[in-house]
Amino acid sequence: MSDELTAVVERVSRIDGVRGALIVEASAGVPVVAELTEGVAGDAVAALAASLYRRASTATSAATFGGLRSLQLEAEDGHVIVAGAGDLLLVVVAERAAQLGLVRLEAARAAELLA
């Protein structure tokens, strides 16, 4: 399994514009596998992204919109994508010009694998 997780992270990291990819333990927000460029605070991003995902997932479920499959944060200079359904999440930090379509596709595949 850990080989598969590493393969997911490596594949996502190779996408143009991706600055970091992590597999994160959903409840604790701890990175399990990570590939990051310099300057990306992996531990902190992992913790906050996991917390946000849990909170958003609770909100969408409580409002009967169904389970959360993925979350995409947009910011001035880039994006953070979080995907997953079980104990593990894929977190991707990407620049503004990144190939988001590819990232979303990989995130969806990773979510199926992680579920």
Binding site: V40, A44, L68, A75
Partner: protein, 312 residues
């Protein structure tokens, strides 16, 4: 001297375009041709210019005016629709489309566009009058054909572009102390806007609804036709998530938070800031293209900011 300057400008623009077909000088040259009563030449220039600069908003707007001059309201409306796709808060396009729809008897669509135009320029008399007519006709519910277009207000002066060598218009006379300044007109004196309808141009197709929600989770405007979820509950619950979203992107050195797209089992949801005190929530069908949802979210943000500025 001013006439000579204008001729020199025309010559320079013509040379620019002849030397480089991609030159943006096509735009002032086309405007000059229109003023000179050479609409065919103006139109040819615009069309050629748009081949190279298809997203030039001013060129689309000028082409719309040229079509309108020629009596082709349909093509004028198509061009202004293109302007709005590129620049959702473009006053000229909103006004132009509003007038076109009003002429065509589509009072509801006229009202939507004129309401948005009036949010941008509340003091535009022609828009105000046209909006009053559109509101009357839209609210009348009569099956009889709308009144003849001769009842419409005259085209706004701004549709007739001034000659570049004309003197700037004299500044308006100072308002007498006893008269309220136009900008200070109270909201209740403006043409009433239905807050539930301000996002009507976004809602439709895969987009199920849009709401403007304040930081307390209370809905300020918009409407939502969603049966598979409780949107107000979602608005109330997401407040904490939004704070975390802001912190996450800051920590990732990605600058300010601009929005959040949630892909759920039953819908695609988008939350984005409208102002510091309010967010916009958009719900779309689960199979809606993400790019389309994001594009509509941007459109809604522009409208929400104008609404809050005018009525908050």
């Amino acid at each position: 001297m001013k006439v000579k300057t204008a001729v020199a400008d025309l010559q320079r623009w013509s040379e620019d375009v002849a030397r480089d077909p991609g030159s943006l000088s096509f735009l002032p040259l086309a405007r000059a041709y229109r003023r000179q009563g050479r609409p065919d030449a103006a139109q040819r220039l615009c069309l050629r210019g748009l081949e190279r600069h298809p997203e030039n908003v001013e060129a689309h707007d000028l082409l719309a005016l040229l079509y309108l001059d020629a009596g082709d309201r349909k093509r004028a409306a198509d061009e202004w629709s293109m302007v709005l796709r590129l620049d959702p808060a473009n006053f000229e396009a909103l006004r132009g489309l509003g007038f076109c729809f009003l002429e065509d008897g589509e009072a509801g669509r006229a009202r939507q566009h004129l309401e948005r135009a009036s949010l941008i320029r509340p003091d535009d008399g022609a828009v105000r009058e046209a909006l009053r007519l559109a509101t009357e006709r839209d609210g009348g519910g009569s099956s009889t054909p709308p009144a003849a277009s001769t009842t419409l207000p005259p085209p706004p002066a701004a549709l007739i572009e001034p000659e570049p060598w004309m003197e700037s218009p004299a500044p308006p006379a100072p308002v007498a102390a006893s008269e309220p300044a136009p900008a200070a007109r109270a909201p209740h004196q403006q043409t009433p806007v239905d807050p539930a309808r301000i996002f009507d141009h976004v809602i439709g197709g895969p987009v199920l609804g849009a709401l403007l929600v304040d930081t307390r989770g209370l809905v300020l405007a918009g409407r939502m036709d969603v049966t598979s979820g409780d949107v107000e509950a979602l608005s109330a619950l997401l407040g904490g998530a939004i704070d975390e979203a802001r912190r996450t992107v800051l920590l990732a050195h990605l600058g300010e938070w601009r929005g959040m797209l949630l892909d759920t089992g039953n819908a695609m949801l988008h939350i984005a800031p409208a102002t510091a005190e309010a967010v916009i929530l958009i719900a779309a069908r689960r199979d809606a293209p993400a790019g389309w949802v994001l594009r509509n979210a941007q459109n809604a943000q522009a409208v929400a900011a104008q609404f809050l500025e005018a009525y908050a």
